[in-house]
């Protein structure tokens, strides 16, 4: 495993992009190279260890992988509120090209960023409206607990106009607007892997981050077997 940096796609002049972001790679120059598109926001934290465990398992199965940070996420110096869905999609494509990815594996709402040009897999994909809805609900529950009353309609109206902080994540207006209608990519070459295929309950549900080696290994095995099948067909 190596931690290095990569350069996202966007120009630096508007202050929205970033020069360097971190990237975790398992890179031994092998044939199969998978770009990992991590879950977003709260789920990104809850699934971080799971995601790395999947990558370790893929490495043991002879598959390279790369997990980039997007601008505004994790260690990034760029502001989250300046990020857009389109910007992240361009970054994802750039990351795929610079890593030389042959496939992509998205996790939950990471599917919203997956380059449609790449074949691969979407693990338990989550669309924009559902992602946004859960975050709005969290904000309303917290507000109620604090003795305030906020409605979904008022919050969304404000979010569309000036951005909104949801569950601690400051989202800019363009990102709120994009998430409201962000459907899952109809990428025919990307296979959806349901949680039922991995077994047990998804770790994004956990109130506190947890890990599960069995689930991570199961997901990596599905990917590896699928890859072996594709290689067999080509041969």
């Amino acid at each position: 495993m190596e931690v290095s940096t990569w350069s996202p796609a966007r120009s630096q002049s508007d202050g929205k992009g970033s020069k360097d972001e971190l990237i975790v790679t398992f890179d031994k120059g092998r044939t199969a190279r998978i770009l990992i598109l991590p879950a977003l926001f709260d789920e990104a934290n809850k699934l971080r260890r799971f995601t790395l465990t999947v990558m370790r398992a893929l490495d043991e199965m002879g598959i390279d992988s790369a997990l980039p940070d997007w601008p505004g996420c994790n260690e990034s110096l760029a502001a989250l509120e300046a990020q857009t869905l389109e910007g992240w999609r361009a970054d994802a494509l750039q990351a795929a090209q610079s890593f030389g990815a042959t496939h992509c594996l998205s996790i939950r709402a990471g599917a919203l960023l997956a380059p449609t040009q790449l074949s691969g897999w979407q693990y338990a994909p989550l669309d924009g409206p559902k992602l946004l809805s859960a975050m709005l609900r969290a904000r309303m529950i917290a507000a109620r607990e604090a003795g305030q009353s906020e409605t979904r309609e008022d919050l969304l109206e404000r979010g569309r106009a000036e951005g909104l902080t949801l569950a601690g994540w400051p989202l800019g207006a363009p990102l709120v607007r994009a998430l409201e209608s962000a459907a899952l990519n109809a990428a025919p070459a990307q296979t959806v892997i349901d949680q039922s295929a991995v077994g047990g309950a998804g770790l994004w549900l956990r109130a506190e981050p947890d890990e599960n080696t069995d689930q991570a290994t199961a997901l990596a095995q599905i990917v590896a077997q699928d890859l072996a099948g594709q290689t067999g067909e080509e041969a």
């Binding site: 559902k130 859960a134 309303m140 917290a142 607990e145 549900l205 109130a207 506190e208 947890d210």
Partner: protein, 124 residues
């Protein structure tokens, strides 16, 4: 309503196998609403089968468990919507509903679709 497990292995079987999350009809036939709700709470709180079965109607939830913050509750409600195939309106979400396991269970039972309730009462 008893808080004792009806079938002691029902919970373990539900979570340990690769039972699809969204096959509501199969769940309905084999486990009570209480068992199914315990299963979801176990997935959120990371409880094992024994811990889950020790949940009673009086067990405190939101405001009693520090790890059950607003984001975790939002995820819990979304999962309840998916697995029970019900809609939880924003106005439904209040302190009483979220404070105890019994409060949450009463809400879910009230929200189950009328035809399912009718079948259940016919059987009872």
């Amino acid at each position: 309503m008893s808080s004792k497990p009806i079938v002691s292995n029902a919970f373990a079987a539900d979570t340990a196998t690769d039972t699809p999350l969204r096959v509501v009809s199969a769940d309905t036939a084999t486990a009570s609403t209480e068992e199914r709700l315990k299963s979801i709470l176990s997935d959120v709180l990371g409880l094992d089968a024994d811990d889950a079965q020790s949940l009673t109607l009086d067990s405190g939830l939101f405001g009693h468990l520090p790890e059950l913050d607003s984001m975790a509750v939002a995820g819990l409600l979304t999962e309840i919507e998916d697995r029970f195939d019900i809609v939880i309106e924003d106005d439904d979400v209040d302190g009483e509903m979220l404070e105890t396991f019994g409060g949450l269970l009463a809400f879910v039972e009230a929200r189950m679709s009328p035809d399912v309730s009718a079948i259940a009462s016919d059987q009872g």
